[in-house]
Symmetry: C3
Amino acid sequence: MFQAKARAEVLKEVVNVVSTLVDEAKFIVNAEGLSLRAVDPAHIAMVELTLGKDAFEEFKADETEIGIDIDKLSQFLRLAKSDDMIDLKHDEDKRRLNIVVGDITRRMSLIDTTGMSDPKVPNLSLPATVTVKGDDLTQGIRASETVSDHIALVANPEGFEMSCEGDMDQVHFRKSKKDLIALDAPSSVRSLFPLEYFANMLKAVSSGNTVTLQLGNDYPVKMEFKIAGGKGEVRYLLAPRIESGD
Amino acid sequence: MFQAKARAEVLKEVVNVVSTLVDEAKFIVNAEGLSLRAVDPAHIAMVELTLGKDAFEEFKADETEIGIDIDKLSQFLRLAKSDDMIDLKHDEDKRRLNIVVGDITRRMSLIDTTGMSDPKVPNLSLPATVTVKGDDLTQGIRASETVSDHIALVANPEGFEMSCEGDMDQVHFRKSKKDLIALDAPSSVRSLFPLEYFANMLKAVSSGNTVTLQLGNDYPVKMEFKIAGGKGEVRYLLAPRIESGD
Amino acid sequence: MFQAKARAEVLKEVVNVVSTLVDEAKFIVNAEGLSLRAVDPAHIAMVELTLGKDAFEEFKADETEIGIDIDKLSQFLRLAKSDDMIDLKHDEDKRRLNIVVGDITRRMSLIDTTGMSDPKVPNLSLPATVTVKGDDLTQGIRASETVSDHIALVANPEGFEMSCEGDMDQVHFRKSKKDLIALDAPSSVRSLFPLEYFANMLKAVSSGNTVTLQLGNDYPVKMEFKIAGGKGEVRYLLAPRIESGD
């Protein structure tokens, strides 16, 4: 059983987060709220999302799995303004999710979740933590996009740096410690990442929000941020590229 | 003879209405105003438009026919703001329409109307009438667009419904009698229509305007609305699709 | 040596002017400011641009040539708001231009200028001069775009006219002397130009700005306007098409 009511804005945030990596997703609902764990088709990135029941206006659920076509849900939500109320109801017999906004009801066939994997979150020890405005990271990415396909994230006791080196040009984005929201980097660490993936993850961060990055040396990056005004949480994990020694 | 002056906004409404169905159109002008009747190339829909002479700032005409390339007129009108005055003058000798906005004059070759048909408006008895906000219908259409190519319009004594059933999903838009501007449906009627045509017709309705639909059982729908602040009238007629009994 | 600081807005104006004709450009800097002279690949148009050192917040330069990929510079400037400060520094050893906006640095490889020509400005005697709002010319061009590929510019003692004659339609834009900012045309002159080039040049004129055209009979047109609030100057020269006598 799953029946809930939420502001469109909250569901749009969820859709933005999930759609950066997958087209279809298995949501797990239970009495406490909703959660999801998914890996992109190329197995380069993972997303974990939790949304507490207090992010909803109304929420009632027994533990169940719901397989959703993210594109369809996204299309439907585009009909709603941020403040519109969305009713969600799982029709178990017909394997549908019934969604209502205003006078419009969509009865959406669910995706069979039996074949969908449950990705395991790897146990990582990442020595450096940087907290920074999402909008700053976005500026750095925009500056880098035409220079190379890869971006290095660097943290050291002095600050944080995004660095992108192409054949012709280089782009560097630097924040010294005093200009960061928080920095904990005992030593210098650096890892290289596929720029497009990192850019897509950042698109899911609402403007004005804060992002926490955890970094190591040639290790995955963990990107965390809040959604639904703090009532939900997103953790992305992105695999590094190993730098060639040229 | 035809010579007139109108606000750009009024002519833009006319162009929006006509361009949903045809690229070229034969306008009939006479001392009372302007009118048009046209059928789309696939003979699925018809439009009737009348614009009284009081919709114009100035208007002088003897009865004549003017064949206009709607795309060209539309391009030219894009140069004008809503409140700009447009001068129109038929140059019978050179078979042109001369259009002036501000410092710019376009002398537009007219289309030969001799081959253009005069569609007959069929005599239909449509038992149900629904009056509803155009914006509401547009929301229903937007919700349906990815679900199926057809949309059912249903009226009964309780209310009005747009219903779209695809292989996977269904969308329903429902307004009960009290939420409609007017409803006169002695019994339940339902007809199925090509969604794209219905959507295009709705695009010609200015935001905030009211639309009257007349419906029968597996019968065409007649859609009526006003233009030019009530000084013009549009009637669309759209042929039904016969529902397969699956 | 070249080191300068400028508002992003000023550099964006320079990029807009140059990118209408060329992808790569050789800027000459010296103690007085920056200048450029370039011809489009088809040798139909030429641009001359000068930007005095007082258009910059800071400016220090010995005479040198800097070859810039205009697209790259344009991309980078899109990261900046109009009022942002941009730092420019020529790194002669590495043949780079280092550009800084906020926390972001781009080290941009320069283009080798040794093969790039120094176009000569032809000595022209153009009898008519018209000063007009750029926005008016833009309206005239927009009205003409679908009618023909060529546009005639006409000046005579009574006024100024842009005239575009296609196989089917004609567009005329007319300003009588009293509606022009200035007019000096002892006799009537007329020349025909490729519409796309003239339209592109106009795109570099900021909205609200004034343009001076110098015209002759089947002669090039010279288009002049100010940039950087009057601290820079642009001169375009566009070759005429010879009218066929049909």
